[in-house]
């Protein structure tokens, strides 16, 4: 190790190119794949939670016409003697709740037309229409409801940007994955083949199905619009409150 020995004793470093400390460019050239892999690994760890959340909720919502991913909902129909119109709310409530077999706290009793609607503190709803009582009960599927909400429901604020950041991380994982390994197991053969297979799936589906434009119809483009200003509630007669004409019924309003 003569170079080290010379450096240690403070002598002039050797001028031969092979013995110079490597510059930044050379280091990057030599180490880039290792760094790519290291960053890929760490981002992979970061992405675990997001990926599980988005993948499971994606599968759940993909099959939303086969099941309800958010709730266990049940509905039961019972028959009772019809509730007379002149029966007091308290007595009507007592009869309906007894028929439904529910004893919890009742938050609201609402009568309209031939309906009596009870809302229980538990969230259960019981509606009597004539001689028919419908009991509607719903329980959250805790994980999926939360995951589906994060995945899809509109109206979230900061989460939109967090999800954008995750999407950028996914892009890094996808692109860095291409270059992680060199040679036949990398882009030269196996990698290229699998990338083509992966691209062929969506492209093939688009070609075979005709894509979203297959049943194209005429549509009118959306126009920028305004939101209705809130209007104060007004006293009503028979449940109907006249409204002033809309201030703006131009095509642009949304």
């Amino acid at each position: 190790m003569p170079e080290v020995a010379e450096a240690v004793v403070g002598q002039t470093p050797p001028s031969h190119p092979a013995t110079r400390p490597p510059g930044t460019g050379a280091t990057i050239k030599k180490r880039w794949r290792a760094w790519l892999r290291a960053i890929h690994r760490d981002i992979g760890y970061l992405a675990v939670g997001f990926t599980v959340l988005y993948a499971l909720s994606g599968i759940a919502m993909n099959h939303i016409d086969d099941w309800d991913p958010n709730f266990h909902a049940s509905e039961q129909t019972l028959h009772i003697a019809p509730i007379p119109d002149d029966l007091s709310d308290a007595e009507a409530t007592k009869r309906i709740a007894a028929a439904a077999g529910l004893t919890g706290k009742i938050d609201d009793v609402f009568r309209a037309g031939d309906e009596v609607r009870l809302t229980f503190a538990s969230g259960s709803k019981v509606t009597a229409i004539g001689d028919t009582v419908t009991v509607q009960v719903r329980r959250d599927r805790v994980f999926f409801r939360a995951a589906d909400w994060l995945h899809a429901t509109r109206g979230k604020q900061a989460w939109k940007f967090i999800a954008d950041a995750y999407a950028v991380l996914l892009l890094y994982l996808a692109i860095s994955g291409i270059f992680m390994i060199k040679g036949r197991l990398g882009l030269r053969w196996r990698g290229a083949t699998l990338i083509v297979v992966g691209l062929a799936a969506p492209i093939g589906y688009l070609v075979l199905s005709g894509g979203p434009g297959a049943q194209r119809t005429e549509r009118v483009a959306a126009r920028p619009g305004e939101v209705d200003p809130p209007r104060p509630p007004k006293p009503s007669t028979d449940g109907i409150t006249p409204l002033p004409p809309d201030d703006d019924v131009s095509p642009g309003r949304k």
Binding site: I64, E75, T127, T217, R219, A222, S236, G239, I240, P251
Partner: protein, 244 residues
């Protein structure tokens, strides 16, 4: 018989891991394909209801079940930003291009002329509910009460959290189109738009806005939530107008 593609693992034991992995991937691919095909076959073979509905013809000459649809026996909850489902606080604004716009509460709605009609609904995701008995108030009745102006051409359904859906006036005021609060004699469940939703049965079901808050009559079309996100503006199930 020895697989000719199999390497001589006795001579080259270092190839064993690669060979095992290849066998595993092949088995997994075959198993997945078998399960997917099996599932599809079971689903197709057991769908007698859809076959029957496809064989029926409506009075307008169209098939009872539009193309690409399969029949279910009950509504499926398709998500969306729910309203509160509370009949007591329900208000419906009927406004826009009309001489007498009004706001009506739930009790008031039940005092208007009611209709009960059998109607089929068709979800853009591919399921249909055939023969549901829907009760409500025809949109034509609301339009008449609001004295809709002659220049109105479209109806915008307004719902909780700013959701909107648009429909041509002619289809939104058709005989079976209504604001509905009962299906098969039962109140709508919250996940199906309680207390009141729109119903335009001859268009894909997303047009029948859940958790309805308003009916607005307009002259120029205004594509709504899904219509501005790649779905068809008109949404005729018989023409399979699913996407824009």
């Amino acid at each position: 018989m020895r697989d000719s593609r199999r390497p001589d693992l006795d001579r080259f034991p270092e190839l064993q891991r690669g060979w095992d992995r290849r066998q595993f991937v092949k088995s997994a691919a075959v198993g997945t394909a078998f399960m997917a095909l099996g599932g599809a076959l079971v689903r197709i073979a057991s769908d007698d209801l859809s076959k029957e509905a496809r064989a029926e013809t409506r009075s307008d000459g169209r098939t009872r079940l539009p193309p690409g649809q399969r029949m279910l026996e009950e509504l499926r909850p398709m998500g969306g930003a729910e309203g509160n489902g509370d009949a007591r606080s329900f208000r419906l604004r009927v406004h826009g291009l009309c001489k007498s716009p009004f706001e009506i509460d739930y009790a008031g709605l039940l005092k208007l002329p009611q209709v009960q009609k059998e109607a089929d609904v068709h979800c853009v995701t591919g399921w249909s509910l055939i023969g549901g008995l829907w009760k409500g108030v025809q949109i034509a009745t609301l339009a008449e009460k609001a004295e809709v102006k002659a220049e109105a051409r479209f109806v915008i359904f307004e719902a909780a959290h700013g959701y909107t859906a648009n429909a041509p006036l002619k289809e939104a005021t058709a005989d079976a189109a209504m604001v509905t609060y009962r299906l098969n004699g039962k109140p709508l469940a919250l996940q199906h738009g309680a207390p009141v939703r729109g119903l335009v049965p001859d268009l894909y079901f997303w047009k029948s806005a859940k958790w309805l808050t308003g009916i607005r009559f307009v002259k120029a079309d205004e594509p709504g939530y899904w219509e501005t996100r790649g779905y068809s503006n008109h949404a005729d199930p018989w023409k399979e107008e699913r996407y824009a």
